[in-house]
């Protein structure tokens, strides 16, 4: 009797999970196998109608060309910088928000909900608003800067590659995109950190206070260590997501002002250059680099834990 029950449960399990696996298999695993094939073959958009009817021409040219191109390495550096700054920034802003709203006060629920608005906003709407605000002719930022901050000429925030601020070259457009992404993604970090903070038992802090710890010490030695694990997870996830960002960057700058991230490169190879093989190779290299970076990060954090 027990074996039949277990068998039945096994069968039901597979029955229920099979539609999910089918979707994942057809739209994730199969495409992944294909992208590897494309990366190693000579194939362009015009070849699509003949796909499956002609033999594949295998080649390493796509990878050779990618690795030899200036655009690839430039995009890689831009992407790492962009993803790293976004991850750190959204964690920092999320942390400040979570700590500021930790203690109950009247209207806290409403404030919490309102802070989520940038995260919920459609990215196209958000980008349209930011583009308008930063517009050199009628944008509020430039108008304010010229009226009250003494700017002589309007600043092209979304097209300026680099500007000297107090003698230091600053990548203006890239930083604007980073700030935009921090604005949009910090609410998620705030949510996760708040959830973790709520489960820190209040007694620990009270005990520390009895032992004479001041507020800063309580933060540094009690709260922050409790948040460490979720903070590292958020850093990792945001880096992974930002590393592949297309929408935010493309909508704000279309890659102008040295904001050509890897995802925009893949899109350009596919759509503008109509080269499927090259786009696939760019994408595969991008995933490979992401994996290497993540493996390095995991190793480093393991070592830091041990020591």
């Amino acid at each position: 009797m027990t074996t039949t029950a277990a068998q039945r449960e096994n069968r039901s399990g597979w029955l229920l999970v099979s539609p999910s696996l089918l979707v994942v298999g057809l739209v994730v695993l199969l495409p992944f196998a294909l992208v590897v094939v494309f990366g190693f073959s000579e194939i362009r958009l015009v070849d699509i109608p003949f796909l499956g009817t002609e033999p594949i021409e295998w080649t390493l040219d796509n990878f050779r060309r990618a690795v030899a191109s200036q655009a690839f390495w430039g995009a890689l550096w831009t992407t790492v910088l962009y993803a790293g700054l976004t991850a750190a920034g959204s964690l920092a802003v999320g942390l400040v928000l979570a700590l500021a709203l930790r203690r109950p006060f009247r209207g806290r629920g409403l404030v919490r909900a309102l802070l989520l608005v940038p995260y919920v906003l459609p990215v196209v709407a958000a980008a349209t608003i930011w583009k308008t605000a930063l517009n050199p002719q009628y944008g509020v930022v430039n108008a304010f800067g010229r009226a009250y901050l003494g700017w002589d000429t309007p600043v092209g925030f979304l097209s300026t590659t680099s500007a000297d601020v107090l003698g230091i070259p600053v990548p203006v457009a890239l930083l604007v995109v980073v700030v935009f992404d921090v604005w949009k993604s910090a609410p998620l970090a705030f949510l996760f950190l708040t959830a973790r903070l709520q489960s820190v038992p209040g007694e620990i802090e009270e005990a520390a206070a009895l032992d004479g710890a001041n507020r800063r010490q309580a933060l540094r030695f009690i709260l922050l260590p409790q948040l460490r694990a979720v903070a590292l997870l958020l850093l990792l996830l945001r880096f992974i997501w930002s590393f592949q960002t297309f929408d935010d960057v493309y909508l704000l700058t279309e890659g102008a002002g040295s904001t050509q991230v890897m995802a925009i490169q893949v899109y350009t190879e596919l759509v503008t250059k109509a080269d499927i093989g090259s786009a696939a190779a760019f994408g595969l290299l991008m995933s490979l680099i992401l994996c290497v970076l993540l493996a390095g990060y995991v190793l480093l954090s393991r070592r830091a834990d041990e020591s």
Partner: protein, 282 residues
């Protein structure tokens, strides 16, 4: 105790911080709303001014059909609505089954299938865009809303599975056990016992999936940019930005597509948040 209670200075500091946080989060949105109700000429003349009168004509212009002197956003919204609702329906149906199996049933290979689904969730989506585009265009679906629907279902299944599994795990198991004792089949168990108590979780997941499909831009651009009559709302707004469309109309369109998601999100906010952050408490 007294050491834990904030001092007056700390409380004032926090009030300032909360005010800054609200301005930072809502400032840009408020700016968009203000501009969308100002006449275009006034915006270019005086960028820092406030609206002198409430001018809602930009909304009407954005929504009206091109043949009617507008920009066709009304039709784009209908396209988006169709694709998003279809995505919700299919994705939720698949995920209710999969998530229940992942949460409750012990079958061989369960750890493996759960692992695959998590790995897929973290996998760089942009890499798969290339083969997905090729497959769907070989099938002749890249210039259709159906092609977009397929891609959206695939994109939302992993996250919906994850959320819904969390909701199922939080449900009390005793009711189900009693139903099985009474001889319920699996189908009856799901429809009569599990789903009625899981409604908040299902609704929250559905709303989250809707938001993803409603907000999506990249695949809409990749598939449909050449077919203006099939543009989704996000694609429409982004494309019109490249034409000579008054910025007030663009912003009116942006606000119009934002309002539904924000309202729906806030109605189910508590459940969505708990579905997303579960597991972060530990």
């Amino acid at each position: 105790m007294s050491g834990v209670r904030p001092t007056r200075a700390a409380r004032a500091g926090r009030a300032v911080l909360v005010a800054i946080a609200l301005v930072w989060s809502l400032g840009p949105v408020a700016y968009g709303v203000v501009l969308s109700v100002r006449p275009y000429a006034e915006v270019t003349r005086d960028p820092l001014g406030l609206p002198s009168q409430l001018d809602l004509s930009a909304f009407a212009t954005a929504m009206r059909d091109e043949s009617d002197g507008g920009f066709g956003l009304g039709r784009f919204v209908l396209n988006s609505l169709g694709v998003a609702l279809g995505t919700v329906l299919l994705s939720i149906l698949v995920c209710i089954l999969g998530a229940y199996a992942a949460a409750r049933l012990r079958y061989r290979g369960r750890a493996l299938t759960n692992g695959i689904i998590l790995a897929v969730y973290l996998f760089p989506g942009i890499v798969l865009a290339v083969p997905k585009f090729v497959i769907l265009s070989r099938l002749g679906l890249t210039s259709t809303l159906v092609g977009l629907l397929i891609v959206y279902v695939a994109a939302t299944v992993p996250v919906a599975l994850y959320m819904m599994r969390n909701f199922f795990l939080a449900l009390p198991q005793s009711v189900e056990e009693a139903a099985i004792m009474d001889g319920c089949t699996l189908g009856q168990l799901l429809v009569r016992v599990v789903l009625p108590i899981a409604v908040p979780g299902v609704v929250a997941t559905a709303i989250y999936v809707f938001m993803i499909a409603w907000n999506e831009y990249f695949y809409a651009l990749l598939f449909l940019v050449q077919h203006r009559d099939r543009w989704t709302a996000p694609l429409g707004i982004a494309q019109l930005g490249d034409f000579q469309v008054p910025v007030t109309v663009l912003l009116a369109g942006s606000i119009a597509v934002t309002v539904p998601v924000v309202i729906v999100f806030f109605l189910a906010q508590r459940y969505i948040v708990s579905g997303l952050v579960q597991g972060a408490e530990r």
